[in-house]
């Protein structure tokens, strides 16, 4: 009873804003969510969920090495992210092993390397914050890096928005009319690596793939227009981040997990109630 009278909606929202770390966490997580949500439309349509999982796990050793050498961790993450994809492509081409197997074994290999490195390199790396994210403890240099990378990805995606859509939809046509498909492929991979890097600060390496696919999947159930899909995806990602952080603040829950759970709930909501593609709509259509 006491909690109820104390916790009105107003204080629920405004109280956390009095803390500096909460304001920073809310702003940074919204930015990161927007970037990942933007990219998410492309990844879900291209069918790159597994690729997103692979890249986000593979950045682990890069983060550790960069920390140990005192380099920006985004640089190390980026190199290993793109490197993992190159390695996947190479092994696939040179062996008879199927693609999903290659993806699985490469990214777990990289991830394991990262964990081993953390245990060997005695430094102030906090394994927990890499694995599960630490949006509440983000440092000032991390803030600068995150803003820089986020802007870079948003600018790249905005410039090549339509080309990337065409690349996801019909790469053969793109090639036929002289559009550089090779460039677009690596552009999308680069954006994926960069988004994974900023995303892992919010929710950690293990869950970052959710940031890269769930908002897109939710949006896909709600619209038949690509531009709307991008907008809905970005919005649902931001809303999930805000919900996740507030809920974790008030109920003392793991923040990264809360953000991803909020995304999952939004997806389930769309799955049930989407006007055209929701299962309830389909059920009722069946009774008519």
């Amino acid at each position: 009873m006491e909690l109820c009278s104390f916790l009105t909606l107003d204080t629920f929202i405004t109280d956390p804003l009095t803390h500096d770390f909460m304001r920073k966490a809310l702003l940074m997580s919204s930015l990161v969510a927007a970037v990942c949500g933007f990219l998410s439309s492309y990844l879900t349509l291209k069918g790159w969920a597994l690729m997103g999982d692979a890249v986000s796990h593979s950045v682990m050793p890069g983060v550790v090495v960069a920390y140990a050498l005192g380099l920006p961790f985004s640089l190390g993450a980026f190199i290993f992210g793109v490197g993992s994809v190159a390695l996947i492509g190479f092994i696939k081409q040179k062996s008879r092993v199927k693609e999903d197997t290659v993806i699985g074994l490469v990214f777990t290999g990289f991830f394991a390397l990262g964990i081993v490195l953390v245990s060997k390199i005695k430094s102030n790396i906090d394994l927990h914050s890499i694995l599960f994210g630490s949006p509440l403890g983000i440092s000032l240099s991390d803030v600068k890096q995150t803003i820089f990378i986020s802007l870079l990805v948003v600018i790249l995606l905005s410039i090549f928005r339509k080309d990337l859509m065409l690349y996801c939809f019909d790469p053969r046509h793109a090639k036929t009319v002289g559009i550089n498909v090779f460039f677009l492929h690596y552009l999308l991979l680069t954006c994926l690596s960069l988004a994974a890097v900023v995303g892992l600060q919010s929710v950690g390496i293990i869950l970052v793939v959710a940031m890269l696919i769930t908002p897109g999947a939710t949006a896909y159930l709600l619209t038949d227009k690509f531009d709307n899909m991008t907008v809905i995806s970005v919005l649902s990602a931001i809303i999930s981040s805000l919900i996740g952080i507030y809920v974790s603040f008030w109920f003392d829950l793991e923040t990264g997990g809360s953000i991803v759970l909020a995304q999952t709930f939004l997806f389930l909501f769309a799955f049930l109630f989407a006007p055209r593609y929701g299962i309830l709509k389909k059920l009722f259509a069946g009774y008519k």
Binding site: L45, K162, F169, P171, H173, I179, K225, F226
Partner: protein
């Protein structure tokens, strides 16, 4: 309007080979087509039809041989929007969230600026193309809500909007309704009169006899190539389909 020299070759493919990681998909294939010619590409599944298309669009690299389009390299043909590819229905994601208008506009991308912002002329080209395939009422319909025939016409409109002089069509008649079939046939006649060159793959032998001036029978390489009346014989067809008689495949000839 460009002037068409009907003596020059539009497509010249000379001894082209394609292999995927050492596995040969097509070898020593030759093809020469002039403006206004319609050529049928006939072969079994896995005989290299799609590979042939992929080579001509530059989607896969040839390991040997030469391809010239209008006497120039494939690269400059791509830059000039010379070739349009109309995919097989199975080749595209029909649930992709875009409308008929968006797909047809993609035919203009190659000649737009980097942001792909449509000019007045692009908008007009797209409108005209959609009208030619009789989809004006479905302009803003998502492609997922179209019938198979309507979707096929959407991709045909994209090729029209592109103003390509060479059309490559993968199974243009498979899974379409009678109305679409009739419309496509009429368009083929118009394209021919406009001097466009058409290469189409098909399973339907009647269509080959009906539209194709030339026929290219392939089974990993060219089995026979020439005027339909001369080349499209039961013997050649049997060879193409690995010894199975055409009667068995398509019913007895009337």
């Amino acid at each position: 309007m460009e002037t068409i020299n009907y003596q020059n070759f539009r497509i010249e493919a000379e001894n082209i080979c394609v292999d995927y990681n050492g596995k040969v998909a097509l070898y020593d294939a030759n093809l020469r087509l002039k403006p206004g010619q319609i050529c049928g590409l006939v072969g079994m599944n896995g005989a290299g039809k799609t590979t042939f298309f992929n080579a001509l669009t530059g989607f896969v690299n040839i390991s040997k041989g030469k391809i010239r389009i209008n006497g120039e390299s494939l690269r400059s043909a791509q830059k000039d929007q010379t070739i349009a590819y109309v995919p097989q229905s199975e080749g595209i994601d029909s649930q992709f969230p875009i409308s008929v208008w968006d797909v047809v506009m993609m035919g203009r991308y190659g000649s737009m600026n980097i942001f792909r912002s449509p000019r007045e002329s692009d908008v007009q080209a797209v409108k005209d193309a959609i009208e030619r395939v009789d989809l004006t009422d479905h302009t803003s319909t998502p492609i997922g809500n179209l019938s198979g025939g309507q979707r096929k016409r959407t991709f045909l409109a994209r090729a029209i909007a592109q103003r390509a002089s060479i059309l490559l069509l993968d199974e243009p008649f498979s899974g379409v309704d009678i109305r679409t079939e009739k419309l496509i046939s009429e368009l083929f006649i118009q394209f021919k009169n406009e001097g466009k060159t058409i290469l189409l793959s098909t399973h339907d032998m009647i269509h080959v006899r009906e539209f194709c001036d030339l026929v290219l029978l392939i089974n990993k390489t060219v089995v026979a190539y020439g005027e339909t009346s001369e080349v499209f014989t039961p013997e050649n067809i049997t060879t193409t389909f690995g010894g199975i008689s055409p009667d068995f495949l398509f019913g007895p000839e009337s």
